[in-house]
């Protein structure tokens, strides 16, 4: 079942990465750790999968990145949401809300949606 969940996650990876950066700038490893901890390790994708998504989102202007070196640490590329990225995240949340509600209604046999 984990394979199916991982496949489902792939289609929403860009939105999930945007959401992981909502709290503040982070580097790739921290983003993966955030996704794992928030999903209680349900989504256990290969960690490298996040880098094509980060690059794609940066190319689209939804993320910005810069190399940073903490006082006692290793140099890392840190990503942050741009204004366009925050707007895109809000849009994707709305779209996901509508989609999830519709699918939930269909799967649980509830009343037609929207009523």
């Amino acid at each position: 079942m984990l394979g199916m969940e991982a496949e489902m996650l792939k289609g929403h990876l860009d939105a999930i990465v945007l959401a992981a950066l909502e709290a503040g700038p982070a580097h790739g490893y921290a983003i993966i750790e955030t996704i794992k901890s928030r999903s209680a390790s349900t989504f256990d994708l290969p960690e490298g999968t996040v880098y094509p998504a980060l690059h794609r989102l940066e190319q689209a202007g939804l993320l910005a990145s810069a190399w940073m070196t903490p006082p006692n640490g290793r140099r890392r590329r840190v990503y942050s949401l741009t204004k366009a990225g925050s707007a895109a995240l809000a849009d994707r949340r709305k779209a996901w809300g509508r989609f999830a509600q519709a699918v939930d209604t269909l799967l649980t046999g509830g009343r037609a949606w929207p009523a």
């Binding site: 790739g28 490893y29 490298g48 880098y51 094509p52 590329r77």
Partner: protein
Amino acid sequence: MAGVIDDYVASLRRELDFDPALAQRLASEVEDHLRDAAEADPAWPSTEAERRAVERFGLGREIAAQFAVDAVDRQVRRTWITLLVTMVVTFVAMRLRVMWLDDGAVFALAPLVDRYAFIAAIGVAAIGWFAFRHSLLTLAICLGGLSASIAAGIVRAGLFAQGAPLHVLLAAAGEIALIGLLSFHVIGLGRRLKRTAVLRRIGR
């Protein structure tokens, strides 16, 4: 002695050879990631900790294949934008030539090729935009049509080279520069499509 992480990063860099700038940047980023992951492993420091970090990261070829697909998308966008600009400039240059030249009786073939090769390129591009946007063949046909049109246009202008106004010559120079850029993008797209196909086949 090179460690597991060093070997992995070197192989990833090789897989990303279709974009050297990306390969350089990602190699540094991935190495940082893998060292963080290995250091967080209870078995650190050890080869086993590095091996587990690499395993969790995923196959280099699969990651490179994802980058290659994105690179194809970007290259397709760049090529179509260049094609559109080339068409506009070719059309303007053609109109300038028509306004200046009266070559109908001198050499009948060049004006026909100039016009109809251009129209054919527009037709193929219009169909390709809606149905075959990622098709190398569509873009190659458009490139061929525009090249034929521009070559015929230059032959036309060449017949009257002496005394040609500056704006006609500049338009022809613009056409040549753009067809060069378009050729470069079409060839680049071909290389990226081929690389993506290879990476996807191996990654399976």
